[in-house]
């Protein structure tokens, strides 16, 4: 392995950015490909697939055998709002492989008693996200219903290009939210990325069912990164 490739790979991994180490198994030469780097042909198609799935493997291209080692950051969910939906969402998401952090400055909601075994911050999103910035391998789910708590985080999620941004609320609530986000400087294209009403349309009624709809929508967003979104409701 090229020492420079190893250094570059580790730097990308530390920064929570996706990278693939491409090794020609014939001559041992290797190079790092970052997400969005253009690679043509069959090799490029295999690389795009590896970025999407996170699966490593060998590929035949250009009469050679390449090994693609995909290094994707651990995807995670940041939930704004220590509410009933979040109580169901946190354990489900963890089981699905998406660790969860919950942020809610309302100390009556954000209690360890209500959220055992979850990373919980009884603080304003502004303060937590300054320490732990959002990134493109983070999903942001805003469910407080309170603009004072949700809006900053939503704007931050759009700016950080979170792979999924969802916000609880009716179409009417969301229309008002759009006005506020525009006033905060978000663009119309950015705002169009927000899933609201939140969750896949599975007719969810209870908080736990809404959590299933949200988790499914976040997984769909993650696994269709770089593709046209398929089957996304809301």
């Amino acid at each position: 392995m090229d020492p420079y490739a190893l250094k570059t790979l580790n730097a990308e991994r530390r920064a929570r950015r996706a990278a693939i180490l491409v090794t020609d198994l014939g001559d041992g030469r290797d190079r790092i490909v970052r997400e969005g780097d253009p690679v043509a042909g069959d090799l490029g198609a295999a690389i795009a697939k590896a970025f999407r799935t996170g699966n490593s493997g060998s590929v035949e291209a250009e009469g050679r055998t390449f090994f693609l080692n995909a290094h994707l950051p651990q995807p995670r969910l940041v939930v704004i709002g220590a509410v009933h939906i979040s109580q169901a969402l946190a354990p489900m998401a963890r089981i699905a492989g998406y660790p969860v952090e919950i942020i809610d400055p309302r100390t009556a909601f954000a209690t360890p008693d209500r959220f055992p075994d979850v990373a919980l911050h009884a603080e304003w999103p502004e303060d937590v996200l300054k320490r732990q910035p959002l990134d493109s391998y983070t999903a942001l789910v805003a469910v407080t219903h309170d603009p004072k708590v949700d809006d900053f985080a939503l704007k931050a999620a759009l700016d950080a290009n979170c792979f999924y941004v969802g916000a609880l609320g009716s179409r009417k609530t969301h229309a008002k939210r759009v006005e506020r986000l525009l006033a905060l400087g978000a663009t119309a294209d950015q705002i169009a990325r927000i899933h609201a009403p939140i969750g896949l349309d599975i007719g969810a009624a209870s908080p736990a069912e809404i959590a299933v709809a949200v988790l499914a929508q976040a997984i769909l967003a993650f696994r269709s990164r770089g593709l046209d979104a398929k089957g996304a409701a809301a």
């Binding site: 020492p3 190893l6 490593s56 090994f67 080692n69 995670r76 963890r94 660790p99 075994d117 990373a119």
Partner: protein, 112 residues
């Protein structure tokens, strides 16, 4: 909690390999490039080895690491990468089997 979102730098084989390199050590990197059946470690897993035989990470559940380390020291000496194959009751090539019944292919290369 499982699935930490940050690298576990003290146990991450590629971070350790970079550290060894900075310390001036000769290093080999072994990577699982293919698996069949119930292989214990997924494709892409690493074992990193220095010239003294110290190692971190894994390419199996501990069944074949010893053989990989031995090969890796040769690879460090020669600079030539090797493809190793291990399988259940594999008496032909390496005389080291995977008790789990799977088969794996491991690419061993020198760093630099």
């Amino acid at each position: 909690m499982e699935n930490s979102i940050y690298l576990d730098e003290a146990r991450d084989p590629l971070i350790i390999a970079e550290g060894w390199m900075k310390d001036g050590k000769d290093v080999a990197i072994a990577t699982v490039v293919e698996t069949w059946g119930s292989a214990p470690r997924p494709v892409g897993s690493h074992l990193v080895i220095d010239a003294d035989g110290n190692f971190h990470g894994s390419v199996s559940g501990g069944c074949v690491e010893g053989a990989v380390v031995t090969e890796a020291i040769d690879v460090i000496d020669s600079g030539k990468a090797r493809m190793l194959e291990f399988g259940v009751a594999d008496e032909t090539a390496w005389q080291v089997g995977l008790s789990c019944g799977g088969r794996i292919k491991v690419y061993v290369e020198r760093l630099g």
